[in-house]
């Protein structure tokens, strides 16, 4: 079974440029998360989807960040324009939404963004 796939793995851009990250979750996983992980810190939630609905985007900086999950499968996270402080690793995770709570998040390898 394929895991969570993210691309690109690395991205270097200049400030004020746009950037987009893509995530394909594990097949059948209804719930999809985007996390931001700053250097030396734990992941912090940006947005959580259940199917195509964003059920929690309270931590997403909506002035410059946007996300979509069309058809409830893969998802895209966009930053426009990027700022120096956006340099981080962007992690995508998925989990099945079933009656049995496994409680496990399955993470991709992340997309490392460097803003110059």
């Amino acid at each position: 079974e394929a895991g969570v796939v993210q691309s690109p793995r690395y991205k270097i851009i200049e400030k004020k440029q746009p950037v987009a990250f893509w995530c394909n979750p594990i097949s059948g996983h209804n719930t999809l998360y985007w996390y931001r992980q700053n250097l030396g810190q734990g992941p912090e939630l940006l947005i959580r989807y259940e199917n195509e609905e964003a059920v929690d985007d309270s931590q997403l900086p909506k002035d410059r960040f946007s996300a979509e999950r069309l058809k409830g499968v893969d998802s895209t996270l966009k930053i426009q324009p990027a700022e120096l402080g956006d340099s981080a690793v962007y992690l995508c995770a998925s989990s099945p939404l079933t009656g049995l709570n496994t409680g496990e998040l399955f993470f991709g390898e992340g997309s490392r963004l460097t803003v110059l």
């Binding site: 030396g40 734990g42 992941p43 959580r48 995770a93 709570n101 409680g103 496990e104 993470f107 992340g110």
Partner: protein, 113 residues
């Protein structure tokens, strides 16, 4: 609001030595508790989880963790560390099924040969 603390930013142990990583949480009720490991350049992988029942839980790679309600702690341990255990370890809580996960800041483990 929920919070997770991991008091040790960085721990160094010798290969073969025992290990304990600390985790404390603040929440009124007992949340679901997790330990994840992150190797360099990789995503996070679940080591173990606690929902209810036996307060000592076994995980993968020889790790175990003990839930202590009175101390609001969920410490991770391993009797004998291997060089391949060098990684970043994150404690996480989820206060109810379907709710968001809150991660601690992580503890970086270095293993000396």
């Amino acid at each position: 609001a929920q919070s997770v603390t991991q008091p040790d930013i960085h721990i160094t142990v010798s290969e073969g030595a025992s290990l304990e990583l600390r985790c404390n949480y603040s929440y009124g009720a007992t949340p679901y508790l997790f330990w994840y490991v992150q190797s360099p350049g990789q995503g996070l992988q679940l080591l173990l989880k606690y929902f209810s029942g036996d307060t000592l839980v076994q995980g993968i790679k020889g790790f175990e963790a003990e839930f202590k309600r009175s101390q609001s702690s969920f410490n991770l341990s391993k009797p004998s560390v291997h060089w391949s255990d060098a990684a970043e370890y994150f404690c996480a809580v989820q206060h109810n099924y379907g709710q968001n996960f809150v991660f601690g800041p992580g503890t970086r483990l270095s293993v000396l040969p």
